[in-house]
Amino acid sequence: MKMVTESEWEVNVPDKQLKDKVYFENLKSVVIDTEMCSRCLTCAAICPGGITVVNNKVDFPDYETKCLDCGACVRVCPRFVYEPKSGLGDYIEFTAGRSKRFAGQDGAMVTEFIVSAMEMGLIDRGLFAGRDENWATEMFHVRDSEQLTITTLGGTKYTFADVLPELKKAVMFTKSGVGVIGTPCIVSGIRKLQQEFPIFREKVKLVVGLFCTENFHYDDISNFLKAKGVDFSKLVKTDITKGKFISTMTDGKVKFKVTEAEDIVASGCNVCTDFTAVESDASCGSVGSAKGFSTVVVRTEVAKKVIEFIRAKGHADFGDADPAQLDFLIGHKKKRAENIKR
């Protein structure tokens, strides 16, 4: 990108496949209509016009009149020019951890990472996907570990969260930097934003990825769970382990095989081969370590500094982790994507 002065500058205009259509139509035909869209909402985060989610699908009502045709969406969409990631990716350390301070889905190492980075002064806020009483996700800016007394902030929600549109706001507000948590597709979206726009490179300091096999649209999963007899007012935790979807309620558990929910897996997940969030600074998941621990993959120098801080302060217990245990799910995602291609 060539720059002349503060009052004159150049923007590279991305290529269009459909030359006589606006960029949103290009995005729609290449990504959305082909069911490749992961609903990471990177496009919605950057769109100055109004890309949003309509009936579970990324859409742009009135795009004919409202799309500004700037091309920002196709510049940042991780699936417009798709370079699928897979495997374990590069890492500095592969370990298991359990936070002594927080409760979470597994070992709450995700929460520990963000809070520790905040205490180190690396970031001044972390974005968390909380939930309301109906288990729909809500985004929270956490600026103080005391906010984590809201117990719904930790733990896994098996439905999409609007992390990226909130990240854009956080980037505008933050002074020192933002820490963010996301599934592999969200992590890829963040990296795309950072690749394209310096403001995200400067301000997004820590990206914690979550291992992810699949995700569900809110309406689909909530209806499915209700049909299975899950009472949301009593639901305290949802979990997928060893092929079973387990809903823990205050008065019992509802268990079924995840394969039963195969049909409602969001279509964009079926093409995804990235299980471990290869592009994150650190990624966490439950497979690969003992119960009660989070498997932690430390990938970058930034994340290394944070885990060293956690160790030095004694905020977590560490245990053994085995990368080989991830092979099955990594392979499963690859196979599923290949089947879809055929």
């Binding site: 720059m3 004159e8 590279n12 016009g49 726009f197």
Partner: protein, 243 residues
């Protein structure tokens, strides 16, 4: 506790003190040293940049809403006019006369007067509609003298003249004018949506596409520094700087 004792004074000393006191009393009755202005028969001369009642000129309004946004007392509400534009109304029950609205008005549509004595019957009447802000409000003038404070090295004196002050400031003293222009602080983060170009009232922002490259330009000579583009930029990478 310390007891205050009256100092012993001779009769002569006492007589001198009393004479001095009587002297001051006589002087005050002949040439009083009060600072009170006998309003409404007298009116104090206000400086031309006095922050009084506010007038509005719709011709000059660029509909930027800045007055309403900046008002710390929330006294300004924008109301839709028949021409579909939104113009300010001021609730004088709330206005604190800070004149931030006037200072922030980039079109020069809002203007100050020296009027500070408008009477209202009730709170509702204090809500001043746009059309009531175009002409100065009706006030009753009973003042026969114009009073000016003058400060010499010892005292504050009142200078009274038989003049009627014009409360409508025809030409406000020019504020220290700070010329601002819009500038891009993070050119590489521009997404090229050219919303800035669309909202620019003065046509200072332009864009052109050639060979897959969009060239954005802010003409610093035509830019009025109104800040609309800064507010609308979705990446918040525009800012106003001194020219």
């Amino acid at each position: 506790m310390k007891k205050v004792t009256v100092p012993e004074q001779s009769t002569v000393e006492k007589a001198v003190r009393h004479a001095a006191a009587i002297g001051v009393a006589v002087k005050e009755s002949v040439y009083p040293l009060t600072a009170t202005v006998q309003y409404p028969r007298q009116r104090k001369k206000m400086p031309d940049n006095f922050r009084g009642y506010i007038l509005f000129d719709p011709e000059k309004c660029i509909n930027c809403w800045e007055c309403a946004f900046i008002c710390p007392a929330n006294a300004i509400r924008m109301k839709e006019a028949p021409n579909k534009k939104y113009y300010p109304t001021i609730d004088y029950g709330r206005c604190i006369f800070c004149h931030f609205c006037i200072d922030s008005c980039s079109g020069g549509a809002l203007r100050a007067t020296k009027i500070h004595d408008v009477a209202y019957k009730d709170m509702d009447e204090m809500l001043t509609l746009t059309e009531e802000m175009i002409e100065p409000p009706e006030i009753i003038r009973e003042d026969k003298k114009l009073v000016e404070y003058q400060i010499d090295e010892k005292d504050l004196r009142l200078k009274k003249t038989r003049e009627e002050d014009n409360l409508i400031v025809e030409k406000a003293p020019p504020p220290v004018e700070i010329q601002m222009v819009s500038q891009c602080i993070d050119r590489a983060s521009c997404i090229g949506c050219h919303v800035c170009e669309h909202v620019c009232e003065s046509g200072a922002i332009s864009s052109s596409i050639a060979n897959g490259v969009m060239r954005m330009k802010i003409d610093t000579d035509t830019c009025t520094g109104c800040g609309l583009c800064v507010k609308e930029c979705s990446m918040q990478i525009l800012t106003l700087v001194r020219k």
